[in-house]
């Protein structure tokens, strides 16, 4: 109870609440704009976070994360273009309903479903994460190494269309991570006498380059393909009481489904929303109306994709491994602001965890308020021309890269990684595995080193612990599942 009060006192301090508000509102805008995802939003927020207390930075990131997942539904409904991959299933019924002149109701349903999905997943986060962290506190270097191996197998799940390319992306990230002074032996690796390389590549410019500048280049390629504009007037936001009753029969199970999917590393909102949509359709008495503007077809994916937010935070907070693409970027962001997610955070910084829990919950209510009150503003957000938006983002990218180390070299790194990232992405190499490699690679190496020092060089120590064996087993299962998933479309074809 005292933890809850502590969290409430922190979040509802006017200035902290303002940052949470900015994070959530910014997340909704970022999510709504096609081409900008939660990952890009978090990265654009990073240069500002360094000047905040870690707990404030964390709640702002939480607001951005939840807001962006919800925001994706707005463009999905209004212009049939999901703002984020998680909102792809929302297009199926959201857009037809908007075409019938009921865009207000579609956004209202998405807002209510997203809020409740978020609330249920936050409650699960509050109850599950501390328990898991308590178990993880008993981990030694062997278990941590196995955990990092498991974290790295998430690469297989976020690889995109080609597993080989995904693994190569992850290995590219690991290769970047080994540049600089080895943290165990202190030996200088691959710097070739260049002073800037002795500390390795700075993480913030690399993140800015790979996600934000790459995205600008992707948008540059789309010039000449104008987005659709929603011209109808938006009215009638709230569903009727009868509709609400029916909605909650879908929202509650979809929220739990989303939370559960979110907890499993390597899944994410897109999978959860399609699964929830299918389940809602399967249990519906009026299956034919799905795809033609059924409000249940909006509520199910929206409850599920916002359900994944709290779920994805469970492995991130309690074990220090990201659950999906956005939480991979979030892990990097947290490390940059001086926080190291994992079980020790629960022991050493309980006040930050309490603030996060309350901040996460408050963000859901902010989504409800902002979503319902600003529904008429949303079409205007979608009308911001790319010729203004992306040049402004470019300036922010350069300034953000410069701001941490006051170094022009960092701007150069961001530009180079942006160009490399663009070419890799163009030819089907996903960005998320690179980040996973950069973040988890050094942690895996450090824990392997520690385990070998403790065991006097006995490699067998890596397989002595049952917990480590458990992680190796689920790593194998995770990779096998990804392989099977990738083979399935070929069979169908």
């Amino acid at each position: 109870m005292s933890a809850l009060i502590q969290g409430l006192q922190f979040v509802f301090t006017p200035i902290n609440f303002l940052f949470l508000f900015i994070g959530t509102a910014g997340g909704i805008v970022v999510g709504a704009i096609p081409g900008l995802t939660g990952s890009v939003g978090i990265i654009l927020l990073l240069p500002f976070l360094f000047y905040l207390q870690p707990a404030v930075a964390l709640i702002m990131l939480a607001g951005m994360f939840c807001g962006a997942i919800y925001g994706g539904s707005i463009s999905a409904i209004l212009i049939s273009t999901p703002g984020t991959p998680s909102a792809a299933a929302t297009v199926l019924d959201g857009y037809p309903l908007a075409q019938k002149g009921e865009a207000g109701k579609a956004i209202g349903v998405a807002t209510i479903a997203s809020t409740f999905g978020g609330i249920i997943s936050t409650l699960c986060l509050i109850f599950i994460a501390p328990q898991l962290a308590r178990v993880a506190l008993k981990f030694g270097p062997e278990e941590y190494f196995a955990l990092m191996v498991f974290g790295l197998t998430v690469i297989a799940s976020v690889s995109g269309a080609s597993l080989v390319k995904g693994i190569l992306s992850g290995l590219f990230g690991l290769s970047i991570a080994v540049i600089g002074i080895d943290p165990i032996s202190g030996y200088d690796r691959f710097s070739f006498g260049i002073p800037n390389l002795m500390t390795g590549f700075p993480m913030l410019p690399v993140l800015i380059g790979l996600f934000a500048i790459t995205q600008i280049l992707v948008e540059l390629q789309k010039i000449g393909n104008p987005l659709e504009i929603y011209k109808q007037k938006i009215k009638g936001v709230l569903p009727t009481r009868k509709e609400l009753k029916a909605l909650f029969k879908v929202i509650i199970p979809s929220s739990f489904l989303g939370t559960f999917i979110g907890i499993i590393p390597g899944t994410g909102g897109a999978i959860a929303s399609f699964m929830a949509y299918n389940e809602a359709r399967r249990f519906s008495k009026d299956k034919e109306s799905f795809g033609e503007g059924n409000i249940l077809g909006i509520a199910a994916p929206e409850a599920a994709n916002n359900g994944t937010t709290g779920g994805a935070m469970v492995p991130l907070l309690s074990l220090g491994i990201p659950g999906d693409v956005v939480t991979s970027v979030m892990l990097g962001a947290l490390m940059l602001v001086g926080l190291r997610p994992g079980p020790l955070m629960f022991k050493q910084n309980p006040e930050i965890i309490n603030a996060l829990f309350v901040g996460f919950m408050t963000a859901q209510f902010l989504i409800l308020a902002l979503g319902l009150l600003s529904v008429r503003v949303f079409p205007a957000i979608l009308r911001v021309p790319s010729s203004i938006l992306f040049p402004v983002i470019l300036a922010l990218c350069f300034l953000g890269s410069f701001s941490l180390g006051n170094s022009i070299y960092d701007m150069f790194v961001a530009l180079i990684f942006g160009i490399i990232g663009f070419f890799l992405r163009k030819y089907g190499f996903a960005m998320a595995p690179i980040i996973l490699g950069i973040i988890l690679g050094p942690l895996a190496e450090q824990n392997l080193g520690k385990a070998l020092i403790i065991s006097h060089g006995n490699w067998g120590t890596l397989f002595n612990s049952p917990i480590a064996l458990f992680f190796y087993a689920i790593s194998l299962a995770s990779v096998s599942y990804s392989l099977m998933r990738m083979k399935r479309p070929h069979k169908q074809h």
Binding site: I184, F190, L217, I408
Partner: protein, 154 residues
């Protein structure tokens, strides 16, 4: 796509080979603990294996690959020009910001990027580039106290 995959796979393979060779000069494994060469060499070997897989898979498709012409069309000259202009503008910005200062370099960068993004209204270019530069300057220089590069004459 097959041709691009073979080229990218070959680049990865060569870089991994170089990484492996350079790591041979790192200290040898000790009796206990981890040598600084083990992890990079492990990563290099894995990269070589997977890039070889990518090359092998795509070399077979090279003959039948009729997409290269389409791809060339896709990467049309207008995008190639925009991409080159964008990269050059970014590089020029990084090279000159220290010499001419943030307040002059940034509006030029934004204006250049807007033109590359096909913005034709000059008043919009002027307003957005100046306004954004000033907002970011106030935020980073005055609020966050980031020492942004200054023009040496001021």
């Amino acid at each position: 796509m097959a041709k691009a995959n073979v080229i990218i796979g070959s680049i990865f393979f060569l870089l991994a080979l170089l990484m492996f060779a350079v790591a041979l000069d790192f200290p040898k494994p000790q009796v206990s603990g981890l040598s600084p060469r083990v992890f990079p060499q492990f990563v290099a070997v894995c990269t070589m294996v997977f890039s070889a897989m990518l090359i092998a898979k795509n070399v077979r498709l090279l003959g039948a690959d009729d997409t290269s012409a389409q791809e060339k069309k896709k990467l049309d000259t207008s995008f190639a020009a925009r991409f080159s202009a964008f990269s050059a503008a970014g590089l020029l910005y990084v090279l000159v910001i220290d010499k001419i200062g943030y307040l002059i370099a940034t509006p030029l960068l934004i204006a250049g990027a807007m033109i590359i993004f096909n913005e034709k209204r000059w008043y919009r270019v002027l307003l957005v580039s100046v306004f954004t530069t000033l907002v970011l300057y106030i935020l980073f220089r005055m609020v966050f106290r980031v020492p942004l590069p200054r023009n040496p004459l001021w």
